[in-house]
Amino acid sequence: MQSNLVDFIQVLRSHDIRVSPAETLDAVGVTTTLGYADRNLLRDGLAMTLAKTPAEEAIFLQCFDRFFQQDLADFSSEETPEKQDESIDTGQENNATEQSENTSTNQTMALELAAANDPSLKALLQTPLMENLLNNNRHELTLAINAAAQSVDLQKIQMFTQKGQFTRRILDAMGEEQIRDAVIELERAESPTLAVLQRYRDILRQQVRDYVEREYLLHAEGKTQQFMDDILSRTRLNNIEHMYLHKVHELIRKMAKKLASRHSQKRRRLKRGQLNMAKTLRKGIPNDGVMFKTFWRQTKKEKPQILAICDVSGSVAAYSKFLLMFLYSLQDILPKVRSFAFSSHLGEVSTYFDDYPVEKAIELVNWKYGGATDYGSSLIDFSSIALDDINSNTTVIILGDARNNNGDPKLDVLQSIYQRAKQVIWLNPESRRTWGSGDSEMLRYQSACHFSAECNNLKQLERIVDQLLKSTR
């Protein structure tokens, strides 16, 4: 059972619940204290040691039910679905209903009659597999499927495309071949018992399919998810198809959370302020009143602020959206963020983010400021709105492709920002090789930035935001 518990913890890990070895030990402690008799008690107990947030607890409960509910459906009573549910609930007893027992005995009789004239069929009926099927011996059958699954390494299942393959292999390992051959035989002979045998074969296949499905959900769903996330985070943001957008939101939230926990240590760089007389006296007492060490009231360092300027014209809009989403997902730990959007002219859009949820706000911004780009006049707009607020605590992030449609770049405006701000970061979704080609003013703008980077997928975005967080504290 202990190895079972370890398997279960593996499953939890694949579903994004972090379980440390120490917690595994605790879980073992819980199982030995509580025993296995009361399922609900065990579930509550394990939930307390393994799941650490309400969200994790929900995942845990789901996994627990899937993992420890390994009994097969009662197939002899398929005609009475309610009864079937009931018998699943009550557990592993073979409480087939009387009625279905009758039908199944009738069918068994028919098969046995046919077998009397056919030695190969008779041999088949005596195999343990067929006996279990005929007698509706679900417990034995579950064990058989488990054993077969183990022999074909079902736990290594990774992708949903492997489901069929594994089902086939398990069936082979259980000796389903014999039934298949017998069915073909009966077909050739046009025997009346064909339907009966076919039914048993289908039941078996269904059971194994269900079993594989369940195992897939347990072992591979998490892995597939991770695989998808990995691919998405490396895809160029404007190539991500619409149907995956909600996934990207989720992914950004996840990344933001990771960054948040990495950087959530409180801002502790403090400035020395007034003398703290009380503390200095108190700490001096052990030294007979001599104040060796002085203590100072500390004043918190002025909060840094971030100004994000985003190009929302058609070519770059997708990237701006994700940058904004990232910045606002990090609001708890990031210093104050103000955002500006521009294409032909520029305006502050921070209020949208205060009033609406992030996704909605981004839509509004795109709708209001979309159009042809003019970096020159947008920079002038920006400096008239915010130049006075820029000081040595300010980080300015500009996201855009720097394609100015051959207008005046107004480099001097960016230079004045550069001189005032703590840092100016330019993120360009275009690849570095194309910077400066055609109407791109990137090389010129780059001269007035502390840092410029290519930024077109989530991985790069995450790295940049990570750096940003480091530099702002």
Partner: protein, 310 residues
């Protein structure tokens, strides 16, 4: 370090019954948590909305076991001098003054500085011994001989640094004092930590605890709670008021009414000799349940539909 034996905590059912005898009606899950915490010697981290009985659980456990409850209320800026221990500076100072004269007697016969210092060394660090230690809640809990309940309340209000301070106590039940060494708990106390989730507790702390989330109770459970806490409410009113509170919790409120508010409300209704919920009565007593003006206004508008659904 030895562990106290409590027959009251033998099984989950016994705990449930024991709690009930002290008027604390709990779900099976809560009883399981207490059982496991005692059996495995692990602290419980209790989370949940305010007013669902997180602190009450620790208090009731103390009553049930008849052990002292030592409570540490966390707040921003709480440090080890207030949570762990402090030296009794006044006493140290006084003693040095008093003992100054004795010093001459002690050093009699010593010739030369080296010899005097050697003689002084024989006395050890008497001023930094346990007699001069002022125990604060955490240390006090370690010193109890017959077991204790240590309640670290609202741990999410404290600073990150304080959490790290707790780690040693929670996993090994010991405290390290630089001048003395390590002080181990005489008997392991049962530790309850509560959190209102104003910020995330660090993984290191969570890992050392059993995690218990107490949600708002079900209608059935809450009725039992009211029956035990306010016995003189008649059955019909009890059912009505619990149903009403439950429907309130589904509204979009700034602060949903918790169990403690339901109990207060039931008491006020008893004082007003109410037999059933009437609109006017509810309206005039709504401020017992809801603590924000906006919430009262929101509810006021929907009061009729809320009351008519039953």
């Amino acid at each position: 370090m030895h562990t106290q034996h409590f027959p009251q905590l033998e099984s989950v059912e016994l705990i449930e019954q024991g709690f009930e005898s002290f008027g604390y009606i709990c779900s099976r899950k809560i009883a399981t948590a207490v059982f496991l915490a005692f059996q495995l010697r692990k602290p419980i981290l209790i989370e949940g909305p305010p007013g669902v009985g997180k602190t009450e659980l620790a208090k009731t456990t103390a009553l049930l076991l008849d052990t002292p409850l030592i409570r540490l209320q966390c707040y921003e800026g709480l440090d080890e001098a207030k949570a762990l221990y402090e030296w009794k500076y006044g006493k140290q100072l006084l003693y040095t003054q008093v003992l100054k004269e004795k010093l001459g007697d002690l050093l009699q016969g010593a010739t030369g500085l080296a010899e005097s210092v050697a003689k002084l060394h024989q006395f050890g660090d008497i001023f930094y011994s346990e007699e001069f230690l002022e125990p604060r809640p955490l240390l006090k809990a370690m010193q109890q001989t017959n077991g204790a309940i240590l309640l670290i309340d609202e741990v999410d209000k404290s600073d990150y640094e304080f959490e790290s301070l707790l780690l040693e106590i929670l996993s090994d039940y010991q405290i390290s004092i630089p001048e003395i060494g390590t002080i181990k708990a005489r008997t392991t106390p049962m530790v309850f930590l509560t959190s209102n989730n104003t910020r995330d507790i660090s993984d290191a702390l969570k890992r050392r605890c059993l995690h218990l989330y107490i949600p708002f109770p079900t209608v059935e459970l809450e009725e039992r709670i009211i029956r035990s806490r306010v016995p003189n409410v008649n059955e019909q009113l009890r059912h009505q008021l619990v149903e009403f509170v439950h429907s309130l919790r589904e509204l979009d409120l700034k602060k949903a009414p918790a169990i403690s508010e339901t109990i207060d409300w039931a008491r006020s209704l008893v004082l007003l000799y109410a037999n059933e919920l009437e609109e006017d009565l509810v309206r005039s007593t709504l401020n017992v349940l809801l603590k924000y003006e906006e919430d009262i206004e929101t509810t006021d508008n929907e009061l009729r539909s809320l009351l008519n659904t039953r």
